[in-house]
Symmetry: C2
């Protein structure tokens, strides 16, 4: 990363992304392209913009925190795509873009007049990317989908939760951001190839299909058993290991727990654990020495660990176990993470000063480049970059932009 003319120059400097996405699956994808230095121009309808702006926490003046989290470092222009002039401007911009991306409901982009054939016809070098709920050719291809629908249909819920209970919805938005990340990978590969060939590519991903990628350990279970992968509560889906689980800590709050694991691949973990919990006398005890024995006596094993963790704060327990070389992790909640000075110091959480919302704490891109976190710029106001973008991309002047605004095109 370097700076030139006061603007950060990221890895993707010079790449232009025409971004017609909304909510999360598409915006999470284009946000990482923006963090990496691409110029991402978010095209929004003049009447409120991305509906993600209006999710809980929004008011007349401020976009929702949700919107701010998924749209940092982007530019926003308004464009009424249902007017002939608005559509024409979108096409002119598509002719000058490197990437076009959308995640409307099935069929909507074609109805707008910006389907693949049209855009590719205007710009054969474009990388044209789409997110849908279900794949083309799937029996569900015309169905609506949201994050949790993908997590249901894509197997994620079936392997989450207690063995005796119903399927559970994970809190992470794997259906949305999980899909967006996979599309970002394919876009970057297409841009890499295009640098030599000049040839564009059509990319499409379905949220249901993307879920399979994240549950492959569960497929390894089914490969072996021929049966559906079970719900295993806090344990491993593959079974056959102990101890591994979530143990209660003092003082007993909603997230006062610690995950403790011992790898099958390293028998030292169990011995280290016995030392930390003050049960050295059990080192070598045949009831617990081998993994198979510990699985047989799992209730006793778990109880001796819980007896120790219940008396300790989760962070203290993690420190003692971690220092001793035992894989263990305190369950952290979002308030603890947001306020953790470690994350702020390392730049994993940054405080961004948003012109309407004020100071706003948010996680940025977690991969460091040359030891540095990527800079975060606040999410744009609706139409904030109308003049700048139409001048730079299409050579318009301020009077032309003003006229478009009066005509209701912007």
């Amino acid at each position: 990363m370097s700076e030139a003319n006061g603007r950060p120059q990221g890895s993707l400097a010079g790449v232009r992304v025409l971004d017609l996405t909304q909510f999360e699956a598409g915006p999470s994808c284009t946000e990482v392209l923006a963090w990496l230095g691409a110029e991402v121009v978010k095209v929004e309808n003049p009447n409120g913009g991305d509906p993600g702006r209006l999710t809980p926490g929004a008011d007349a003046d401020r976009a929702s925190p949700y919107f701010l989290l998924f749209n940092a470092n982007k530019k926003s222009i308004t464009l009424n795509l249902k007017t002939p002039r608005g559509l024409e401007i979108a096409k002119e911009m598509a002719s000058r873009a490197d990437v076009f991306i959308e995640n409307f409901a099935p069929g909507a982009i074609e109805r707008l007049g910006l389907g693949y054939d049209v855009v590719h016809g205007l710009n054969p070098g474009i990388v044209y990317a789409q997110v849908k709920g279900f794949g083309e050719g799937s029996p569900y291809q015309n169905y609506l989908a949201f994050d949790m629908i993908a997590q249901a249909c894509g197997g994620v819920m079936s392997i989450t939760g207690d063995p005796a209970g119903p399927p559970v919805k994970p809190g992470a938005t794997l259906g949305d951001t999980g899909t967006g990340m996979l599309l970002a990978i394919s876009i970057l590969a297409a841009l890499f190839r295009r640098k030599d060939t000049g040839v564009g590519e059509r990319l499409d991903v379905a949220m249901q299909d993307a879920m399979l990628h994240y549950i492959r350990v569960a497929f390894s279970v089914t490969e072996r058993s021929g049966a559906p992968a079970p719900r295993a509560g806090a344990k491993l889906l593959s079974g056959g290991n102990a101890p591994c689980g979530i143990f209660p800590c003092a003082p007993g709050g909603a997230n006062d727990f610690i995950y403790v694991y011992t790898s099958r691949a390293n028998r030292a973990h169990w011995h280290r654990l016995l030392r930390v919990i003050g049960r050295e006398e059990l080192i070598g005890d045949p009831r617990y020495e081998e993994v198979a024995a510990r699985v047989e006596n799992e209730a006793e094993v778990d109880e001796m660990i819980a007896n120790w963790t219940r008396q300790r704060d989760k962070n203290e327990a993690m420190r003692l176990m971690g220092e001793a070389g035992i894989p263990a992790g305190a369950v952290r909640d979002t308030k603890e993470l947001r306020e953790d000075p470690d994350f702020l110091r390392r730049g994993m959480m940054q405080v961004v000063d948003h012109p309407a919302n004020g100071p706003f704490t948010m996680p940025g891109w977690p991969v460091r480049h040359d030891g540095e976190t990527l800079p975060i710029e606040p999410a744009p106001l609706l139409g904030q970059h109308n003049t700048e973008v139409l001048e730079q991309w299409l050579g318009m002047n301020a009077a032309q932009v003003a006229a478009l605004r009066e005509e209701g095109v912007l």
Copy 2:
């Protein structure tokens, strides 16, 4: 994608990846690079190789299904990095690679003599990438981590599960594959930049830090409330919407459920739902017409939906709701997904013929490129490509390779 000389030419054709990763976080990252056409050479210790080969389902002749899932399309060479000659060969290969990647325990790569300073000194243009459990500078930087430790410490478990119950471990391996995908994005961006500049980059990501990226909706809740995001069971973390949840279907098996959602942004969803469940008479009824009223009467709303879903197979219920334009998704288990002819027909599941394991069904890369799924090649046998790679990368001949094998270097 095109074919030349019978070999598929992917977007990353010509990119050489020296892959020292093991288990899942690293291998998931290098596998997608391989799917996209990079030449990924997996460097394994001659004594068993990647410990992921030995996870459940492995025997003397066959690697585990887990290994096959995360190592498709790669080449394998064996190299004893603890011999001087083995280390020397690794350095020679690093000099000729575009990407170097490892995910050993903290400090191990430096002890092996292949830390960033060494490799960058040999090859200033290299993209040097690392996955660790905790970030450099974190109080936990020397601690061991596995998928579930990252999901505990990174907030994912705190927002998964029933409001009245303990944190729940999601079944998806977000700590591993979720982290690997973010690193792949940064690697591709670095390769893109390097094409013009020739300059390499150092990339590192911590699994704990990566988790924050997938739970940003939960941070939006904390931003508004100042409190930890709750566990919300099957509901939205942000609350304030009904109906949304997991409903039971006939005949009542472990995964006979359907997720039903109605978007706040589209009031038509509720009316469509009333029609499908045969309660048209409630359209316009003030007890249910507005979202706020439905939230107030959520138990009644949920019961009227469950009365309908309980009498229907989940797939039939999904079909009726999906055709009517209601976001709804049957909970699918891994056996259903693996055997679904739709996934096989669309290439989202492919049957790969592995030389040792035989025919093996696995999901491939879910993003389609120009309408095609990327081809899957079976994961390599241990050391399968010793001769080929040492000849092509280092110009050795078969006799030299045989001598190295005799010396115990390979």
